[in-house]
Symmetry: C2
Subunit: 252 residues, 2 copies
C-alpha cells in the first residue's frame, strides 16, 4: 500500500467543527504526528500510532512525517484550526524534496481560530481584514510593529494569533499601545479565549479599556475596522464603506 501525508486542521476545539474529510483522514491513518495537545485530541485505537512532539520542532516533525509516508505509512499531521494559518502546512512544504514529486501529500483545511472567534463575537472581520501572528519567534519584532501600523493605515479589521507568552510579556502591551495610537481609544477589540471548548471566554472592550492580561496564548484577538460597532451582545465591521472622506484617515 502506498503511503501518504495529509496535513489537516482540527478546528478550534469542538468535535462539531471538525470537517468530515478530516475525520475520514484520521480514521484512515496509521500514524498521527503533531504538537502534544493537538495529538491528544485524536482518540487512540488499534493500528494507530500517536507521535506527539513538543513545540518549536516543526521542521523535524515534518521530516518524520514525510519519512513515514515514503515508507508506506498513512500519516496525518494535525494542526489546531487550519493547517495553512500559522501552522504545519508550510512547515511540511519547507522540507519537501524534489524526490517527493510522486508522494501523495495533501492539505485539508479546518476552521481557523479567528473565524471561530469572529462567529462567536458576531462579524468583527466582516470587511477587508488581516491576520498577524504576534509571536516574534519566526520574524523580527520590528516587522510586527511595521505591519500593525500599515494595517491600521489600511483600515483593515485585524486578527492576532499568539498575542502573549510568558517569554515576552511586554510585546502585547506594545501592540495595544500602537493600536491605540493608530486607531484611537474607541475602537472595539475582542479577546476570544479557547473558543468552542469548555474554557471559552469572550470579552469585547474599547482599546482604551484593553489590558495586556486580557490575552494569553489560548486567546485570539480581533479588532474591528474604523466603522466597527456593537449590535446587542455582538460586534461587527459593516459590509460597506460609504464613498466620501476616507474613514481610515480619521482615527479617534
Amino acid at each position: 500500500m502506498s503511503g501518504w501525508v495529509k496535513v489537516v486542521g482540527l478546528g478550534p476545539g469542538a468535535e462539531t467543527m471538525v470537517t468530515p474529510e478530516v475525520t475520514a483522514a484520521l480514521d484512515a491513518a496509521t500514524d498521527i504526528v503533531g504538537y502534544i495537545p493537538y495529538v491528544a485530541r485524536v482518540a487512540p485505537r488499534a493500528g494507530l500510532t500517536l507521535h506527539p512532539s513538543d513545540n518549536r520542532v516543526e521542521a523535524e516533525r515534518a521530516r518524520a512525517a514525510l519519512d513515514m509516508a515514503r515508507a508506506g505509512r498513512r500519516v496525518v499531521v494535525v494542526s489546531s484550526g487550519d493547517p495553512g494559518v500559522f501552522a504545519m502546512a508550510a512547515a511540511v512544504l519547507e522540507v519537501l524534496t524534489p524526490a517527493d514529486d510522486t508522494l501523495d501529500v495533501q492539505v485539508l483545511p479546518g476552521i481557523t481560530a479567528m473565524l471561530a472567534a469572529a462567529a462567536r463575537a458576531g462579524a468583527p472581520l466582516g470587511h477587508d481584514f488581516c491576520a498577524i501572528n504576534l509571536s516574534d519567534n519566526l520574524k523580527p519584532w520590528a516587522l510586527v510593529e511595521r505591519r500593525l501600523r500599515l494595517a491600521a493605515e489600511a483600515d483593515f479589521a485585524m486578527a492576532f494569533y499568539n498575542p502573549r507568552s510568558k517569554s515576552r510579556p511586554e510585546g502585547f502591551a506594545k501592540v495595544l499601545g500602537i493600536l491605540r495610537d493608530a486607531c484611537g481609544p474607541d475602537r472595539l477589540i475582542t479577546f476570544a479565549r479557547a473558543v468552542s471548548t469548555p474554557d471559552e471566554r469572550l470579552v469585547t472592550v474599547t482599546l482604551a479599556e484593553a489590558r495586556p492580561e486580557m490575552a494569553d496564548m489560548r486567546t485570539v484577538v480581533l479588532v474591528t475596522n474604523s466603522l466597527g460597532r456593537r449590535a446587542g451582545r455582538f460586534v461587527y465591521s459593516p459590509r460597506s464603506v460609504p464613498a466620501g472622506p476616507d474613514p481610515a484617515g480619521t482615527p479617534a
Copy 2:
C-alpha cells in the same frame, strides 16, 4: 417553540467540508434563507421551506430571516464559505434591533474559500496575510487601490475575493498592474476556481504571466509574500522571515 436564526457557512462546495454543527442546524431548520445558488445546496425535505433570493438584497433577506425567527420559525441563513467573510453575518447584525436582545441568534463558521484554496495550493497564506474583497459594490474603488498598496508595503500574503465581474472587467486588470508595480514580476499568484467542486481548477503563475481573464467570479486569488516559493506542485509563504534587511523593502 421559540424561534432562532443561525447564520451558517456551507464551505466552498464539497459536502465533506461542511462542519457537523452546520449540518445539524440545517437538519433542525424550518426555513432556509439565502442567495439562490447557496440555498440550492440544501436538500429539500418535508417541513422545510426554502427562500432563495437574488444577489444584492442582503439587508432585505436578513430582515426576512429575523422576522420569521421572531414568529417562532427556526431559520438558517446560508452563505458559501464562512458567513463572517464577505457574507451574511454582518448583514444580519446590521439589521438587528434592540428588541432582538432576547432572540436566539448565532453565527456558525465555515471553511472560507481562501483557506480551501490555500490548502489545495499548499500554504500561500502561511505567514501574515490579508483578505480583500475586490468588488467595489460596497466601497469606493480608491479604497481598494489604497489597501492593495499598503498590503504590498506590509509584505502581507494576500487573498482576493470577487476579483472580476462582467460589470467591471477593467478593475482586476488594474489590480494586477498595482501588484506588479508593488511586488515585482516574479511574485507567485494562484488562481483557484470553484475549489472542492467538479469545476475546480488551480493555476499558479508569476505576476508577469498573470492575465485578468484567469479570474472570474468563482475564483479566489492568492498571492504569496515576498519570500513565497514553489515546492513541486505546491506554493507556499514560508513561516519565517529572517532578521536583517526587510524583504518588503526590496520588491522585484
